[in-house]
Amino acid sequence: MHVCQRCVSLLLSRPLSAAGQQSTRALHQRSHLILLQHSTRQPPVHRLSQGHSRETWRHFTDHQAASPDVSNKTDLTQKEVVPLNSDVHQISSQVTLSDSQSIDLDVAVRASPLQEVSEEEAVQIQVPSALPPESSTLRPYVDKSETLSKLVQLGVNLWELEQRPNVGSMLVRLDFHADVAPRLLFLKDLGVEESKLGRLLTKNPFILTESLDNLEARVSYLKSKKFSKQSVAVMVTKAPYLLNFSVERLDNRLGFFQKQLGLSAEKTRDVVTRLPKLLCGSLEPIKENLKVCELEFGFRGNEMQHIVTTVPKVLIANKRKLTQIFDFIHNTMDVPHSLIAKFPQVLNAKFLRIRERHLFLEYLGRAQYQPSQPNYISLDRLVFLPDDVFCSEVALATLEDFERFQKTL
């Protein structure tokens, strides 16, 4: 990733924010800008102040003398000892005359480096900036760029962002007051907490290039679908890319979920608020997961609805892992569909955990998953208790026994 030369020159030309700080860097950049503007047209005309000494004028005249325009020579040599102000105007007019005849770029004023210069002059000398025109990291630009330093102070992980292609160049090009600040204020108005802003921008830096009209349109669309202000803020925090999607796309997805799952508007809103990633990703894997649950697992419609409202993650879970867990629970542990639908959190758990714990209980003779039988162990207690609590309460054994058993599997 290269921060390109154009961006760097833009960076240099933009003056830093005032904030009352009158550092020399700002001065250099302003004069650099002037230089850029002037250099394209004429040979550089230095801004000379009144404190300039006379020797340089003589140098200037000597240079002019070297030009091929012999007609101007005699005029200049006569004008050596003259008041300075008039000198400037006349010489500049001479230069323009010579311009019209021929542009000779060798006729440039070059002050000798050994000449004494006053303090004001010294301050105004522009130092070429040490910023590299290209870089593969954002490190050289962080201190110089206001946008980047403010982003770091917010908590944005610039290192992660510069790994992504072209994002670094984009960030360097942004202007804090014109681009970044309005969007940050917009997010704050929306209700996103300041501590979460850093993480949000790290995940989705493109929210800073999205137009404010679009962002506002999408938020107003969500509010028109009766999502409360808080839920919109929560959704944007959880799914940083949400506001980059068009209104049609959001509408399409919300309609799909409502139709496919057959849920009421209220429940759809609840599911989407808890897992806003559903609105961001593609619909194909979700359709596949739904088909798998219906056909392969054999869940009925109302069971499916209950599962999705309790654990929305089932919709975007990995198909293979989901099948593995369900296969183990239904075929090896002999748990019927109705019980699984009652505790759908098991479908979200880690397969190895379920397997080890079930085999341990089976070894101890305590694997009872029917609610009607004594010593019944519910599926959520099987899976979600921490190890020591599981061992002491459910399996009635010590943690060491469990570890020893794990090593026999």
């Binding site: 700080q21 009158q22 004001e120 962080v142 980047l148 770091v152 908590g155 992660e160 397969f351 090593k407």
Partner: protein, 315 residues
């Protein structure tokens, strides 16, 4: 401080053993241990203080800089953001964690990992690898495991423990012959005879998998389990062994589990289970095996005498 992180990094050199669960690829185990080590120790150390840079600031308060008369520039030290951890990224990106003798996804058991300088020692060839093989009579599958596609089903009522022991003895005899061949000794000499009597023969250089010990621990038809000590083996060979045992008994058998119980000096008791794959436990385990690692590095191979004496004690 950065120094603290670097000191920790230098301390993490050595070998330790992990109990690999069944169904997990060894690479996932290695990756999760590497990320746990990075998370737990190295990147949780506080970052170094930001460097200070000199900035010259104009003290004059005039609006027009070109017309100001007194230009006093004062140098001030301002912390730079270029060394902020959010800009530079984490201090350590990688820890070298190497796997000694791999276990395929179907098997479980002791997996020795080396960190840092331990990677040089981790591939040292031990002689003793102990495996426990679980088998089941009655079916044959395409990949010799009980999860594969079933090709054949047979009866196994005629199989008794006695017959099984006879078959195992026959297999062990064949392996002893192979051992003598690959140990490249002439058994007609007196020294070779004494070595063979004391059980100190071992294969030199490259050899096919050779079983040095084989016995039946558990027999409960259709399930049975064998204990194997072998060298130069692969887990697929061991599953095929179960299949061949079944064939010899005029039935068929599949392998329902391959468990490595010992990898040189690392036994099952020393292996860390999944809940202990954190940075602290790993560093403790490395410290525990520090002496063993040093001995391995010095001798170039785990001490032959100790291994073979352990073999003899079993018999």
């Amino acid at each position: 401080m950065a120094a603290q992180a670097i000191r920790l990094f230098r301390k993490m050199d050595g070998l330790f053993a992990v109990y690999k669960p069944q169904g997990v690829h060894w690479k996932h185990v290695r990756d999760s241990i590497e990320s746990n080590l990075l998370k737990g120790t190295l990147n949780s150390c506080p970052p170094p203080a930001p460097q200070l840079a000199v900035q010259f600031q104009l003290l004059s308060s005039g609006e027009n800089s070109s017309s100001s008369k007194d230009l006093a520039l004062s140098p001030t030290m301002v912390p730079t953001l270029a060394d902020h951890p959010l800009v530079t990224g984490p201090q350590f990106h990688k820890v070298h964690v190497g796997v000694g003798h791999r276990l395929d996804a179907f098997s479980s058991g002791v997996l020795v990992l080396g960190v840092g300088k331990g990677n040089g020692v981790v591939k040292v060839c031990y002689i003793l690898y102990d495996y426990t093989l679980e088998g089941e009579f009655g079916k044959a599958t395409d990949n010799f495991t009980d999860t594969g596609r079933v090709i054949e089903k047979t009866t196994y009522n005629h199989v008794t423990q006695d017959k099984l022991e006879r078959v195992l003895a026959m297999i062990q005899g064949a392996n002893q012959k192979a051992l003598i061949t690959y140990s490249q000794v002439d058994l007609r000499t007196q020294e070779a005879y004494e070595l063979a009597v004391r059980g100190l023969l071992y294969p030199l250089g490259k050899s096919p998998p050779i079983l040095m010990g084989l016995r039946c621990i558990h027999f409960n038809p259709p399930h049975f389990s064998l204990e194997v000590q072998c060298v130069n083996e692969t887990q697929k060979y061991l599953r095929k062994l179960i299949h061949e045992v079944g064939l010899e008994l005029r039935t068929c058998a599949v392998c329902s589990g391959v468990r490595r119980t010992r990898d040189g000096p690392f036994k099952v008791e020393n292996a860390l289970t999944r809940q202990y794959w954190t940075a602290d436990s790993i560093i403790q385990a490395i410290a525990h095996f520090h002496k063993t690692t040093r001995r391995i590095r010095k001798s170039g191979m785990y001490s032959l005498r100790q291994q073979l004496s352990a073999l003899r004690m079993r018999r």
